[in-house]
């Protein structure tokens, strides 16, 4: 076969691979939107599920999802950012840093079901926090930690050296340089990383199923249990009696996550000055 034909066929295949990827995304989103759009109504969003087949709305599950996500974010953001500051600004390459990085990579790849079992064993049972927003948020924090850490470290490293020098040259201490120059300059990308990790937490199922409980409840205190949207969707889908509500929940979940993703992109584009 001539060189040019081989080339054309091979490039065609690559096009097809990319097209399949985009088409699958389109199909999944389209399918959820088409089936779910009819369900969406203020009533569906703002009322409680009722009766044995969860007729009615999904309000408590939305609240549970947002509650646990916000709580996890509050817990993990400071820790992850400071950890990234350590790695990017303070650490000297060596065994310690190697260990920390390996641990972070390992955390990032822990199967979520294992994280769920861990949360159950440590927070729910051993620590006695019970099925609660707090237990779920703590378990989710470990999931978000490596993501926020990595994006923050990259963001910090992307701040030009010159800017740092300027600050040191003026007699700023390390912490003054980090807190007044480096972190503010890296903030848009750090926030983007946080938003993306938040999206991950919103979509997580296996971690929260064993840490938050499954009871439908409107959480008020962090010690309250609840049922997040993902678990609600899972139960509705597997039960298979009230599929319309499952489509509606799936669409809401998708809107939330796409919202987080697009929000992060938009935010980054608007603030990318440095």
């Amino acid at each position: 076969m001539s060189k040019r034909i081989t080339n054309a066929i091979a490039l065609g295949m690559l096009w097809i691979a990319a097209l399949i990827t985009v088409a699958v995304l389109g199909t999944v989103i389209g399918y959820v939107v088409i089936n779910g759009i009819g369900e969406l109504s203020p009533r569906f969003i703002f009322t409680w599920p009722e009766g044995v087949a969860a007729e009615g709305g999904v309000w408590p599950t939305i609240v549970s999802t947002l509650y646990v996500t916000a709580l996890a974010m509050v817990i993990i953001t400071p820790i992850a950012i400071l950890a990234a500051v350590y790695l990017a600004e303070y650490a000297v390459q060596g065994r310690l840093v190697g260990t920390i990085r390996f641990a972070a990579d390992s955390l990032a790849s822990v199967p979520s079901i294992v994280m769920g079992l861990f949360g159950l064993a440590l927070f729910v049972e051993a620590a006695g926090i019970g099925f609660s927003m707090l237990s779920a948020a703590l378990a989710l924090s470990f999931l978000m930690l490596p993501i926020v850490m990595r994006t923050t470290e990259e963001a910090i490293r992307a701040v030009p050296k010159y800017i740092r020098w300027g600050s040191y040259g003026l007699g700023a201490t390390k912490w003054q340089t980090v807190s007044r120059i480096v972190l503010p300059a890296a903030m848009p990308r750090i926030i983007t990383g946080i938003i993306l990790s938040t999206g991950r937490a919103v979509g997580e199922t296996a971690v929260v199923i064993y840490t938050m409980g499954q009871a439908i409840n409107l959480p008020v205190s962090p010690l309250d249990s609840g049922r997040p949207m993902t678990v609600h969707l899972y139960l509705l889908a597997m039960e298979g009696i009230n599929l319309p509500a499952a489509y509606g929940t799936a669409l809401l979940l998708m809107i939330l996550i796409l919202g987080f993703n697009l929000g992060a992109r938009f935010f980054l584009r608007r603030n990318r000055k440095v």
């Binding site: 010159y162 300027g166 600050s167 040191y168 040259g169 003026l170 007699g171 201490t173 300059a185 000055k273």
Partner: protein, 268 residues
């Protein structure tokens, strides 16, 4: 030349004294046996081919090299007679007294005002009126006030390259340094702005000791009172200080043949 005030007298006090300085990056020996006295309230230029260690040397004065892992200096560098490498000396205090301007203009990603106020704020100045005064005074000394007085809230990065560099100078002036180190401050900006910065140096030197690293011999000849010529003769060997003299002497009657070769453009 026209802007230069009276020549620096021979008996001007030494601001910085360097004796037998050797400098290493890990295993790499970058500078060896440098001995030089920097006169107060004069402009001293460091010239030499690229990679000859003149920037490294400059960064010894405010211990910026501390930030590079594995870098170490042996020998003596003293400021007003005090060893800056002495145990316990605070590099942060040192850097407040020895300001630095870099090759790449590096305003912080914040407003013009905040850029200039950054240093004073570090030192605990927080009163608005006081800061306003410092900011205005510093920008005036950097000849930038007229251009930016109405846009102080705008981001420092929105200025042109030359303006950015003058903003950085204003930022350094705001902390009232005794010495200003300038590491090729004009190599990344347009010629008109270069002129402005050179004028500025002449104005500033009656209050501040200035050391400038430049690869541009004409610039060294224009702005400096003293010039030091550095050279790394063999790749891999440490660089040395070949000759140090009044600029007028060094450019007109160099004592060392290597200096002569360099200034007449035979290499470098």
């Amino acid at each position: 030349m026209a802007l230069r005030a009276t020549p620096v007298p021979d008996n001007a006090p030494n601001k910085i004294t360097v004796k037998e300085l050797d400098f290493f990056y890990g295993d790499f020996h970058a500078l060896t046996d440098i001995t030089v006295d920097i006169k107060e309230k004069a402009v001293t230029a460091f010239i030499g081919p690229s990679g000859c260690g003149k920037s490294t040397f400059l960064r010894c004065f405010n211990r910026m090299n501390d930030l590079i892992p594995g870098a170490r200096a042996e020998g003596l560098v003293s400021l007003d007679g005090q060893d800056i490498f002495e145990t316990g000396v605070d590099p942060v205090d040192l850097r407040r007294r020895i300001g630095m301007i870099f090759q790449q203009p590096n305003p912080f990603p914040m407003s013009i005002y905040d850029n200039v106020a950054f240093g004073p704020r570090l030192q605990g100045v927080s009163k608005k009126a006081e800061l306003d005064e410092i900011v205005q005074h510093s920008l005036e000394r950097a000849n930038l006030w007229k251009e930016v007085k109405d846009i102080l809230g705008r981001g420092g990065l929105t200025l042109s390259g030359g303006q950015q560099q003058r903003l950085c100078i204003a930022r350094v002036l705001a902390v009232e340094p005794e010495v200003m180190l300038m590491d090729e401050p004009c190599s990344a900006i347009d010629p008109t702005s270069v002129q402005k910065i050179e004028d500025l140096m002449a104005e500033l030197k009656d209050r501040i000791t200035i050391i400038i690293v430049t690869h541009n011999m004409q610039q060294a000849a224009r702005v400096s009172d003293f010039t030091a010529f550095f050279l790394q003769e063999v790749a891999g060997d440490p660089a040395i200080l070949v000759e140090y003299d009044r600029t007028s002497n060094l450019f007109t009657s160099p004592k060392d043949r290597r200096t002569e070769d360099y200034i007449t453009g035979r290499f470098g």
